[in-house]
């Protein structure tokens, strides 16, 4: 009975909200979405075609002809075959992967540990929380400069170390290939652990407390509660948090470039730094277009996958 009433009420609602002219809503919707559609088209369709076109030529801004005449410099896909053999590109890609494989898990584990500590209330929670979030709001280029100063051979990091070991420490962090990479990763972990902490904490407080209590009564210890209740409940959130960091970490540029400029040599040259250097120093834009397109195609596939995950995530009550 009540179900029937509800249906009738819904029908009435439908009738009431029906627009005066049948397509008013659709037309307004079209107009409202138009500016965004134009901006997306402006930044995707034409630039992609341009990129595709330039990527099969030797064109550079110094070649003296407009980009639309680049066909005169057609090089029959040489850029793509060059790319396959470009050791500097592959080692930059490998370095980007190393940075990602160190930074993202480190940020995740530290963030999760912090989130666990913040799961229930304690005095001072709000102020600690606000301060711990600060690094992710610092302009990345400025964060890069902070760590550039910290890692100077006469800087505070070495000062702290020398106090610990009791003798003068003068490690030249940023001029040693391995140490420079470590320094860059430390900066990234410092800046983005708060993001993991923030997202994971949001997920952690969504874990139902009664289930935790029930598990405690049944004799589950903290670790068992964590692995059997908390982790499964947080699965989607963890995937989202990791996906965000993987995507952003892949782009790593600002902090790193300010700290080391990709150096010493190419020791900290990640994919973005490599493309930047080829764009601004070597100026072979036809080749850059080829690299960029190759990356875009791979990432597009990832995007579709991530999108499906995101859609799933929204169904999780948090």
């Amino acid at each position: 009975m009540s179900a029937v009433t509800a249906t009738i009420a819904e029908d009435k609602m439908e009738a009431r909200t029906k627009p005066a002219t049948p397509n008013e809503g659709a037309r307004l919707g079209f107009r409202l979405t138009l500016p965004a559609q134009i901006l997306v088209l402006f930044i995707s369709a034409f630039p992609l075609l341009m990129q595709l076109y330039i990527s099969v030529t030797d064109w550079s801004p110094l070649s003296g002809i407009g980009w639309w005449n680049a066909w005169e410099m057609w090089n029959s896909f040489a850029n793509y075959t060059d790319l396959a053999a470009d050791t500097r590109f592959w080692s930059a890609l490998q370095r980007t992967a190393i940075v990602m494989l160190v930074c993202v898990p480190a940020e995740f584990l530290l963030g999760l540990a912090l989130a666990t500590l913040f799961a229930d209330d304690f005095p001072g929670k709000r102020i600690f929380y606000s301060i711990l979030l600060m690094p992710m709001m610092v302009v990345p280029a400025v964060a890069g400069y902070m760590f550039f100063m910290l890692f100077q051979s006469g800087g505070p990091v070495n000062d702290i170390l020398s106090r610990i070991v009791g003798g003068p420490v003068t490690i030249a962090w940023l001029s040693d290939p391995t140490l420079a990479l470590i320094a860059v990763m430390v900066a990234d972990i410092w800046q983005w652990t708060p993001l993991m902490f923030l997202i994971l904490l949001a997920g952690l407080v969504g874990v139902p407390e009664d289930q935790m209590k029930a598990a405690t009564l049944l004799g589950a210890n903290a670790w068992q509660r964590f692995t059997t209740i908390v982790l499964p409940k947080m699965k989607t959130i963890i995937i989202i948090a990791l996906a965000i960091r993987v995507i952003e970490n892949f782009k790593i540029f600002d902090t790193l470039y300010i700290m080391t400029g990709g150096g010493p040599g190419v020791a900290t040259e990640t994919i973005s730094v490599y493309i930047y250097k080829v764009t601004t120093q070597d100026l072979i834009w036809g080749y850059v277009a080829a690299i960029a397109l190759a990356i875009l195609i791979v990432l597009s596939i990832v995007a579709v996958y991530a999108m499906k995950r995101m859609a799933k995530g929204r169904e999780v009550p948090v």
């Binding site: 919707g29 409202l32 711990l132 600060m134 690094p135 995507i247 960029a292 579709v304 999108m307 995101m310």
Partner: protein, 286 residues
Amino acid sequence: MKRSVPFEIFRYAAILAAMAVTLVPILWMVSMAFKPIGEWSATGADLTWWPRQPTLANFQFVFGHSTNDLIVALDHTAVKPILSSLLSAVFGTVIAMSAGTAAAYGLSRFGSGQNLPLALIQLRLFPPMAVMIPVMIMWAFLNLNDTWWGLALIYGIVTLPFAFWLMKTFFDDLPREIEEAALVEGCSRLRVFTRITLPMMRAPLASAALFVFILNWSDYLIALLLTTREWVTIPVYMASLSSSMTGQLYGAKAALGLIAAVPPVIMGIAIQRHLVRGLTFGALKQ
């Protein structure tokens, strides 16, 4: 749940350690910004964690006042970079928020633009570096290189995904009854949107705008590629100070870094409640 005393001790110890790691880099820069030139690169026993003789000389220097200690002359002062950062970030936010809010409403209420969610996620996914060649060519063609309005346009596009997704989840959360009541009263749908929905959404709109502003203000790479001299932004200007012949201008750069870092940190704390939603494209709410 009641926790044991050892756990509480462990918790505070761990949090204090995390706080120290969080704050040392920030405090070092703050301290450096107020150090006189003699203390900039003092090492070993002379290294000072807090300026012995705090001074505002670094700030005066970047704003064009020559000080006795610094004989370097600046090509141009920090005034224009600050203006450039402000104008490009503000107008970039206006572009992203206008287009994003309208499109989010269109999709949330009328189902228009079904392609936008995925298209905008993809836009966010790409490293800016991988799409900058065509952008640099287009911007040169449109005479937008090295202008704040050129930066504002690209910022508006780059942060559109965040504006759109944030506002979409806010609209999705908003009960439709009020809008429906207004429709019954005879308002047009456009009027309902501008006169009823938008005023109700003032607080979410403000949070989303602040969020987008922080992202625009934080950019370095795009400004590095699209501005060369006239309209460089604060981070680009800050980085360029190091190439002067007197070596690193530690204090001056730290002063600029401080100027750049303060606005987003304050704004970020103000919109803490919405950070999770913003950063996860609305997939998570707090």
